[in-house]
Amino acid sequence: MENVIVIEHLCKRFGSNIVLDEFSLTVGKEENVVVMGKSGAGKSVLIKCIIGLLKPDSGKLLVFDQNIPELDHEELDRVRARVGFLFQSNALYDSMTVRKNLEFPLRRHWIRITQKEVDDMVTEVLENVGLAETVDKLPEELSGGMRKRIALARTLILKPEIILYDEPTTGLDPVTGREISQLIVEMQKKYHTASIIISHDMHCVKLTADKVSLLMGGRCYAEGTYTQLEQSTDPKIKQFFE
């Protein structure tokens, strides 16, 4: 299987704080990998390195066979247009309406696009997340679960081939969390995306994961399918599945 993300021996530290220490992971085409790890383990740092928001200190980090740390701005933007990122805090622009939020990546990445095409894409993506009626609302007028859906819509609007989800269900009530997990699975099926999903939510992990990677001590402590890891007798692995 062709790999869309290849990470080998990735290292990242902040001063004396070593966050990633020889971390390795591969993600195949249309494969959905869940990364689990304790809070502060460096999961967000990992996916921020993948999208080029943070620069790793050493190691290999290939996305679509391009080494991210070596790319210049334009090359990086071209990769970013193909990779969606769902922020843990949603990162919706709170001065803009939902429509403007969704249009932002479109207008920024592709300069030549007609208003009609933009409108169609906004409508389509909002229908996908089931929130067509919120198009003229401001983010502050929406509930937590709705904001997460809009953030997901903004990520989907560029039809990315890879989506990076940073704790998509954290901070939501269990029912809404389940709806979001369900939505992620639906979107995976519909758009055939590969994804890295950071999550502690066992329901979400079980539903979405083709493969689970445990990030511990800055490296990949264990890797396998959900069932393989669930049956592990190693207490360090077991604690995640209780």
Binding site: K48, I51, G52, L53, H73, D77, R80, A81, V83, F85, F87, Q88, S89, N90, A91, L92, Y93, D94, S95, F104, P105, R108, H109
Partner: protein, 256 residues
């Protein structure tokens, strides 16, 4: 030598802000002019402080005139009141008071706005959406405040002189024509030009400090509050320091 911590932090801040300002110039000339956003920011930044500038300018002109009158009457030069007030407003009071009001309003709102965008990862989101957030957010706001403050000062000066005219007429009688004739006859190029030029620097300082504090604010909501607060304090101090430097420079150039 051990400097007091506060003073040292002020110097560190100034150094970092200077570098930030340098970044502004190197990024500002790169392609993708964010013209639409610049115009939007000019409107927001200029319009939002207009009312406040007008109100404070009017009161300053009026009060200054009423306060100065007794002293001038004592010396028997009450007829020079418009000239005194006019020069004071155009050269110093107008630019500095307007800039301070502007700092209170704009540095804090820009600091808080960018601070909360930083904390809620909106700046990162812009970056992954093919946008250079420094250009889109910082360059436009700094340029807007550099462009708008001089205009606000002109408006503030005019309203202030209007206040002064009313102040003169409370206890005396002058026609509007005579009042402005007297002021304009006594204002020279050397009075107006430095006063106008320094307002650009004031505007730039307010924009840069507000953006710097917001853009580099620490995580957490209290970081946002601190960003807004220290942006106002630092930009107000910088306004006085720039004022001090400008008066020295114009003195050397013989413009005083």
């Amino acid at each position: 030598m051990l400097l007091p911590t506060k003073f040292r932090r002020f110097l560190e801040d100034t150094g970092l802000i200077t570098r930030f300002a340098g970044h502004y110039f190197s990024q500002g000339v790169k392609p993708r002019l964010e013209l639409a956003e610049l115009i939007r920011q000019c409107y927001i930044i200029g319009y939002s402080s207009l009312g406040l500038v007008a109100l404070t300018g009017f009161i300053m002109g009026l009060v200054l005139t009423m306060q100065l009158r007794p002293a001038l009457v004592n010396y028997g030069v009450a007829s020079q009141l418009p000239v005194m007030v006019g020069i004071a407003i155009v050269r110093e009071i107008g630019p500095v008071i307007t800039a301070l009001i502007f700092a209170g309003k704009i540095a804090s709102s820009v600091g808080a706005e960018l601070g909360s965008m930083k904390v809620t990862e909106q700046i990162d989101a812009m970056e992954v959406s093919g946008t250079n957030p420094f250009k889109y957010l910082v360059v436009t706001r700094v340029a807007a405040s550099t462009l708008m403050l001089p205009i606000l000062v002109l408006v503030g000066d005019a309203i202030s002189l209007g206040g002064a005219f009313i102040g003169v007429n409370i206890k005396g009688v002058t026609s509007l024509h005579l009042f402005f004739r007297q002021i304009l006859d006594n204002l020279s190029f050397g009075d107006v030009l430095p006063a106008f030029i320094k307002t650009w620097f004031f505007g730039f300082a307010v924009g840069v400090v507000g953006c710097y504090k917001g853009y580099t604010s620490s995580k957490g909501t209290e970081g946002v509050g601190r960003a807004a607060n220290s942006a106002v304090v630092l930009s107000s101090i910088l306004i006085f320091i720039i004022d001090l430097i400008v008066v020295q420079v114009t003195d050397v150039m013989g413009l005083n």
